[in-house]
């Protein structure tokens, strides 16, 4: 929207526009940063049931 409304002229004095990102996004970013700093010895984890897996392709030596 700001692109559409900015007009077709240049202003002489530049304005400092505050970042208006919402609080929730700020929290997530800050939490994410702190969590990344704190988790050691860690790994991605999505799969919650399979404990061990071996590809049949690998076993066949492909």
């Amino acid at each position: 929207m700001s692109e559409l409304m900015k007009g077709n002229f240049e202003v002489k004095r530049k304005l400092d526009v505050p970042d208006v990102s919402d609080d929730s996004a700020d929290f997530k970013n800050e939490f994410k940063k702190k969590a990344l700093e704190s988790i050691g010895g860690s790994m991605v984890f999505v799969e919650r049931e399979m404990l061990f897996w071996e590809s049949t392709e690998s076993a066949d030596g492909e």
């Binding site: 010895g41 790994m43 991605v44 999505v46 399979m50 897996w53 590809s55």
Partner: protein, 341 residues
């Protein structure tokens, strides 16, 4: 499905963020490191000789939570003359050596490029230390908090002395400096790929790593201690497995919320008066001691409980504290476990 403990929706929402944080942070590194490590991969965990006799009957996984020191666990294991298998994680390895307890296996998985090598004695200690206060904050082995060059030098010597031919269970995503350091020491390395998602899913990271390396994949539960339990259960096929030092939380009596890493953003989010909602408390059944957890530790806790349910096995928790109890977990004293109760 995660195993929960009646936490608030607010806490649940925060915890759900952890999975995406891990994916954002690690996904590229995991596959890149696995590709890059291929020239070093000579043996996999399938090449490890099956443990024999007492070593095949039971195992102790040594994680590195503060209870390890508070409860004098390492000395108690050593004094018991325990003859089962011992699996140390990278963060407890030096501590084991200092206690005169030589593990049968050491497991490492984290791909962090500068931190993990420190557990093996870091040849680039000073440059890797710059701008990182991880070790001065961590509560695993307080000897590491001082960031002392002298301590690191002693650790290098200790690992050099004991690491040769020591069985190392190393993840394909390990950082280059850990690979180089452990190879220089002469560890006997057995490789595996991390099972992080369903290999049948489109775009699976697990499948990509396995295709690159031809390694078997083991689930990690998101953390090195859980990976060590999965290793003992699935690769060594040991039926009775205990964990020690697996606190997955903080001692309420010793550690204020402000000492936890996520205190600042959580306080801003919920306010000082509501902090209890995001640091849920647990009373350890055997001692009635109170612990609390944060989103990261609670995530680890849910993960291991889910994997435990999936495995249909029993885990003996000899930590003597912390938050790990629930279905499939039997809390028992370490002396009792070592005596083969």
């Amino acid at each position: 499905m995660m195993s929960h403990h009646g936490v608030s929706p607010e806490f649940q929402g925060i915890m759900d963020e952890i999975t995406s944080i891990g994916l954002d942070w690690h996904s590229e590194t995991l596959v890149e490191n696995s590709k890059r490590n291929k020239p070093f991969i000579a043996k996999s965990i399938k090449d490890i000789a099956s443990p024999q006799q007492k070593k095949a009957e039971s195992a102790i996984i040594i994680s590195a939570g503060p209870s390890l020191y508070k409860n004098n666990i390492l000395a108690r294991i050593k004094d018991s003359g325990y003859e089962g298998s011992i699996v140390a994680i990278d963060g407890s390895y030096v501590r084991c050596l200092k206690a005169g307890l030589i593990p049968d296996y050491v497991l490492t998985l984290d791909p962090h490029p500068t931190r993990i090598v420190r557990w093996f004695g870091d040849p680039d200690f000073e440059s890797n230390l710059k701008g990182d206060d991880y070790f001065s904050r961590q509560d695993l082995d307080i000897a590491f908090r001082n960031n002392s060059n002298e301590e690191n030098r002693r650790n290098i010597e200790l690992v050099n002395r004991h690491g040769k031919d020591q069985k190392l269970v190393i993840c394909s995503s390990a950082p280059m400096n850990v690979v180089e350091r452990t190879e220089a020491v002469g560890f006997d390395a057995y490789w595996w790929a991390p099972l992080v998602d369903n290999p049948g899913s489109p775009g699976s990271l697990t499948r990509a790593m396995v295709n690159e390396t031809k390694l078997p994949a083991m689930n990690t539960g998101g953390t090195v201690g859980t990976a060590a339990w999965v290793f003992a259960l699935t690769a060594l096929k040991i039926p009775r497995i205990a964990v020690v030092g697996m606190d997955l939380g903080y001692y309420k009596a010793d550690t204020g919320y402000q000492l936890t890493q996520t205190y600042g953003p959580l306080k801003d989010k919920v306010g000082e008066d509501n902090l209890k909602d995001v640091f849920p408390e647990f009373t350890y059944p055997d001692t009635d001691e109170v612990f609390y957890t944060d989103p990261t530790y609670y995530w680890y806790r849910c993960n291991i409980l889910d994997l435990l349910a999936a495995s249909k096995s029993t885990l003996y928790n000899c930590t003597g504290g912390g938050t790990l109890f629930g279905d499939g977990v039997v809390c028992v004293g370490i002396d009792e476990f070592c005596a083969g109760f």
